[in-house]
């Protein structure tokens, strides 16, 4: 076991389907670009930029163009990129809205039905999503799952996919510009962000404190490396929380923007006149 662990790990880094994730990311980026160009209403370039930033962060995380170091800090950087930073970029790209703009009607109906589905509302509730991201991370790091994922490439990829999906769900439930029926109010969303961030910070400090025996089940460990990884996790989590909070409060700020009512446009007066004059007439007639 003690020999097989590191050897197997080195093996999955070198060979295996390493180009496949990058290929998928490229496909997703190109697909979005094609849709954005074809949008009949004209697509906001800032959304495109955000999506591409998200894809670039994903590309950094999955390699192999940029090989993150194969140590605990490298893995932490990978989880920060996959689970927190890239999803925010992708969510702010509003892919579902873009899809609704360019897709044929049957597809749009399908998306609409999906968005109204009950299970999705439960899954995309901010607190469910917070539990899936931070709770999922805790599950990986506090159980032998981390050690198992080190050995088995399939599990490794599955864990990464979970980070990405849960991170996307969380960012969308908090601050996504995409349609989200029954999205709870600001207080609930801020509460979920607080819970997830606090959980992440506590988890990072706990891992720092227990670096001698966490994550469990590793054959040979270097506590110092896990301590610096825990610090990176703590401060990286802060960065992600800051960005998420900014996105969340920006939606609130945007929604409270005053409607341009004081410099009243010329349309209301004629309308009022139209209603007023017959009524005035009738009033005078009856009286």
């Amino acid at each position: 076991m003690t020999v097989a662990g590191p050897l197997a790990h080195a093996g999955h880094g070198a060979a295996g389907p390493t180009w496949f994730p990058l290929f998928t990311v490229a496909l997703v980026a190109v697909g979005y670009l094609l849709a954005a160009v074809r949008d009949p209403r004209g697509w906001d370039h800032r959304r495109t930029a955000s999506w591409l930033v998200g894809c670039a962060l994903l590309a950094v995380a999955v390699g192999p163009l940029t090989q993150l170091p194969d140590n605990p800090s490298g893995h932490t950087a990978q989880h920060l990129l996959l689970g927190m930073l890239a999803p925010l970029g992708l969510v702010l790209g509003a892919p579902v809205t873009l899809l609704l703009h360019v897709a044929p009607p049957p597809m749009r109906r399908l998306v609409g039905r999906l968005l109204r589905a009950r299970p999705l509302h439960l899954l995309a509730h901010p607190f469910t999503a917070a539990l899936l991201t931070t709770g999922g991370l805790a599950l990986v790091l506090l159980t032998p799952l981390y050690a198992a994922a080190e050995r088995q490439p399939v599990l490794h990829h599955a864990v990464h996919l979970h980070y990405l999906a849960a991170g996307y769900l969380f960012a969308w439930s908090l601050a996504g510009p995409d349609p989200a029926p029954r999205r709870p109010g600001l207080a609930v969303r801020v509460g979920a962000l607080l819970a997830a961030s606090a959980g992440h910070a506590v988890l990072a400090k706990y891992l720092y404190a227990q670096a001698e025996n966490l994550p469990p089940g590793l054959a040979d460990r270097d506590p110092e490396a896990f301590r610096s990884a825990a610090q990176l996790m703590y401060y990286g989590g802060d960065l992600a929380e800051l960005l998420l909070a900014a996105a969340l409060f920006a939606t609130w700020y945007h929604s409270r923007r005053p409607r341009p009512s004081p410099p009243s446009s010329p349309s209301p007066p004629p309308l009022i006149k139209k209603f007023a004059s017959p009524e005035g007439n009738s009033l005078t007639q009856t009286s």
């Binding site: 959980g199 506590v202 400090k205 802060d238 800051l242 900014a246 700020y253 923007r257």
Partner: protein, 158 residues
């Protein structure tokens, strides 16, 4: 009420102006604490072995709350300014109140009651603690003074 040229929106929102100042004061002081004492001076430790797990939990919660307060506070501030409902004096008074309040709280609860970490290690702590808490109390009093002064001359909202 006096100037009827611009209705309702013009009057400064007293409670919101003060509260937004308090929030930003807390968050800025927490950020200064993190940047100066943890990162630059490295007096505070990231974690010291005596920290019990309840303290770890409360520390994580506070830390996460500070960042949210920082961002939320600035967006609220921007919203008040946009609606011309911000009183600058009250916001400054609130800022001092928040900063001083955080400093006192950090000095008493975090350092002494929860014993998360100390101000500095390997030194005689008492003068540091006294200076820390006293400086917070001074800020707190100054903030209370500014808020009181700003409220007493209300008919000049800015």
């Amino acid at each position: 009420m006096a100037d009827s040229s611009l209705p309702s929106a013009r009057a400064a929102d007293v409670r919101s102006s003060t509260l937004v100042g308090v929030l930003i004061g807390i968050a800025i002081m927490a950020a200064v604490d993190e940047i100066v004492f943890h990162q630059l001076l490295a007096w505070h430790h990231f974690y010291d072995r005596s920290t019990p797990s309840v303290a770890l939990l409360s520390d994580g919660l506070l830390h996460a709350a500070e960042l949210i307060i920082l961002v939320g506070g600035f967006f609220w501030f921007a919203d008040l300014r946009r609606r011309r409902a911000l009183s600058n004096r009250l916001a400054w008074g609130g800022f001092l109140l928040g900063a001083g309040g955080f400093q006192v709280f950090d000095g008493v609860v975090d350092h002494k009651v929860l014993r998360l970490h100390q101000i500095r290690y390997g030194v005689h702590l008492l003068p540091y603690d006294v200076l820390w808490i006293a400086s917070g109390a001074v800020l707190l009093l100054a903030g209370a003074g500014v808020v009181w002064w700003a409220r007493s001359r209300r008919p000049g909202p800015r």
